[in-house]
């Protein structure tokens, strides 16, 4: 085996009462791609942030290239040749690409020299790795895929020999993810070491040499990728057998619950995001909307949920119109039985500084069961939250904990529990399993199927093609704001992929 690029010995880390990493031992051979998987909140990001010096371990030792190395700050890590692409990007949004790249590695007190050098170096990196990005573009105007490139370039610019990527593909389209993996293989061929955190077991099988599994703060197993299977990994992660495919019966579509007609939506800059979209969703079926992120799905969802205004068109809920071009009131829609699980749970779905039990009923706080005359019935709210925590296996099982202290996957479950348990007639969900581990995905998928079998109408938007294909009874593909095709659940990945890339639409236009 190659010598270890990194060796961690006895790492412990606690955040208050949460023991995020306990006695971690791990060895990562030089020149390999090492996968790390584990449930939400297993401590993957924490461990890698310790290696990068962002957090400091309570105890334990770090060896880089077999030399004991004190990593107290990111500066120490950078000096030791470690670079990291964080789960939540660490970019200054109103800076240009170039400014972000040189930040902290400016070279001299005056900027001009550093910027010129960076521009040349960037050009070289772009050529070598196919990481094209406009050096003078402002970050906030770049798509997430490009922002991630900037993060990778940042690490390479600092001469990283060891690159850590924390869930890099959560925000990428399949094509972008493939490109990323090509780059990772190139880095490996150059002798660099890559650590890859992901929830997607398929990616683990495709690119890694070894994989470590974390559970509740410890490493429970390390395997050679070639000698393991997806099933084994899933079981190691969750501690029980996981159903990796969705089991469902024939749909029994009934009356139309939600009807969208000729809907057109523009964004704040006046760009048409949804153009002339029409479709129906019936009781007892799941309609999936596939598409590469940014093709209007988000805006469509928001418009139906009443939080974004349409330019023209109409939406009928149970045959009665929603005032989508005027003052649609999300609260009223909720009363009419429309539940919405937003794509962006951090900004739209939750108030992070609130306690879990408060978020678990937010938006339904006018319900009689949560009220005690004019006052909130705190006891009832907490009891209800505890029930949901039980049923949805939300961890830690503490309804008084601040929502910000739950891991991403568990936050998602809080939102899902709130919306689904209200027994809505129509459920619209965006990215229900983004950043969620396999065990939770299995559970969420089961819940969605149960809703459908219970005669509810479900509209599902997801950039995960697998998810769309395994859950939907009908699949609509959106490209450039329009629905460019409808397929059954038996459509192949290739067929949908072409539609998503706008291939058929373009041919038809010619």
């Amino acid at each position: 085996m190659a010598p270890a690029a990194i060796e961690l010995k006895g790492i412990n880390k606690s955040f208050g009462a949460v023991h995020a990493n306990r006695d971690i031992h791990i060895e990562i051979p030089k020149g390999t791609i090492h996968g790390i998987i584990g449930e939400n909140g297993a401590g993957k990001s924490t461990l890698m942030s310790i290696l990068y010096g962002f957090y400091q371990a309570d105890s334990g030792e770090i060896f880089v290239d077999s030399k004991k190395t004190e990593i107290k700050t990111p500066n120490d890590a950078i000096a030791a040749g470690i670079g990291m692409v964080h789960q939540h990007f660490m970019l200054v949004e109103n800076f240009t690409v170039l400014e972000n790249i040189i930040l902290g590695a400016e070279g001299s007190q005056l900027l001009n020299a550093g910027i010129a050098r960076a521009r040349a170096e960037l050009h070289r990196l772009e050529k070598d790795y196919g990481l094209e990005v406009d050096p003078d573009a402002v970050i906030e105007e770049l798509a997430v895929g490009l922002q991630q490139r900037v993060e990778i370039l940042k690490a390479l610019y600092r001469g990283a020999e060891i690159l850590i990527l924390d869930e890099p593909t959560g925000v990428l389209t399949p094509a972008e993810a493939d490109h990323l993996f090509r780059i990772l293989r190139m880095l490996k061929d150059e002798g660099k070491t890559v650590v890859l955190i992901t929830h997607k077991l398929r990616e683990i099988m495709a690119v890694t040499d070894n994989v470590s599994v974390m559970r509740q703060g410890t490493i429970v197993a390390t395997r050679k990728t070639a000698e393991t299977t997806v099933e084994e990994l899933a079981e190691l992660m969750v501690g029980r057998r996981v159903l990796l495919h969705v089991e469902k019966g024939e749909p029994k579509p009934a009356e139309v619950k939600l009807s969208v007609k000729n809907l057109t939506v523009k964004d704040s800059r006046g760009v048409t995001m949804v153009s002339d979209v029409s479709f129906d969703v019936r009781a007892g079926e799941i309609v999936g909307i596939a598409g590469v992120a940014g093709n209007g799905q988000s805006e469509l969802l928001e418009t139906i949920a009443g939080i974004r205004k349409a330019i023209s068109g109409s939406v009928l809920l149970d045959g009665r119109p929603i005032d989508v071009t005027g003052a649609a009131d999300p609260g009223e829609l909720r009363d009419r039985g429309l539940a919405h699980v937003p794509e962006d749970r951090h900004h739209v779905g939750l108030v992070l500084p609130f306690e879990e039990n408060e978020n678990a009923m937010l938006g339904y706080h006018d319900d009689a069961k949560f009220l005690n005359g004019p006052f909130l019935n705190i006891e009832a709210i907490r009891a209800d939250a505890r029930e949901k925590i039980q049923k949805y296996d939300i961890r830690p099982a503490d309804c008084r904990l601040k929502t910000a202290n739950f891991s991403g996957g568990n936050q998602q479950k809080i939102v899902l529990a709130r919306e689904m348990e209200h027994d809505p007639g129509v459920l619209i969900v965006g990215q229900p399993t983004r950043g969620v581990d396999v065990g939770a995905i299995e559970f969420i998928h089961k819940q969605l199927i149960a809703m459908r079998d219970g005669g509810k109408a479900v509209l599902l938007v997801s950039v995960e093609l697998d998810e769309i294909r395994s859950l939907s009874d009908r699949i609509l593909v959106m490209f450039d704001g329009r629905v460019v095709g409808e397929r059954g659940p038996d459509a192949t990945e290739g067929e949908l992929g072409l539609l998503m890339a706008g291939v058929e639409a373009r041919e038809a236009a010619e």
Partner: protein, 320 residues
Amino acid sequence: MDTLVQLLDATVRVSVPLLLACLAGLYSERSGVFDIGLEGKMLAGAFAGAAAAAAFGSAWIGLSAAILVAVFLALVHGFASITHRGNQIVSGVAINFIAAGSTIILGQAWFRQGGRTPSLAGDARFQTIDLPGAAAVSDVPVLGPIYSDIISGHSILVYFAFFMVPFTWWALFRTRFGLRLRAVGENPAAVDTAGISVTWLRYRAVIITGILTGVAGAYLSVAQNAGFVKDMTAGKGFIALAALIFAKWKPVPAMFACLLFGFLEASSIRFQGMDWPLVGRVPVQLINALPFVLTVILLAGFIGRAIPPKAGGVAYVKER
């Protein structure tokens, strides 16, 4: 013509404390530390400056004392809001109270002149400087008076204040420190992961704020006036904050905003009690309120949205 020249000359003089305070706030707020306490630091600086100048008979010692005291208060603000992650508004307000109270108490205890410091003269006060050739060109029409009356004939602190405008621009946009300063006010986590200490960077910004507010205070009591009078900042720290928002946290617009507010103040003094055609006598309170009214009106739509540094006002917390 004479009236206009006098008015503009006065504008320059009253703009200077605004400008210094505004630039002071710019450094702090660009780093993500909001500072309501500009007013207090200026006031404390003015008192310390006048007291030291009176005691030692030197304007320069007065200036040093002003800077020292203002930097001390700035460090208190930094300690509360950077190190201890306290509420920046509360800390700033507290500093204003401390400054307002302690200058009166100490002034009375030391000098017994009802909160005033002894009147400064000679070397104890910054004298005006005549720029070369000012007298020679003063008869040239238009340009002459502009040079000799408006540009020439101010104290060194005035030139320092205006020099700080291009300097701040240069520091902010052309140096490594400036890049990091702007970054830490937008996204401290990005700065942290780039291997730079967020704490030290913000402390440096806060210290610069202290220095500039100290100079502003010294200007008030040791240059523009010949001594300290209680409450002599009279809300200038807050007008400077308004100018900062108005200028969208940029140095050159900050100068123009301060000149505009300075012009309004100079006019209110100049035209006090004057009868205007049609409207008659305008109450001085109305004119004094103009900078604030103007800020509200202009911010409400005329200059577009003023977007503050994104991380402004919140302490950087890495581990909850």
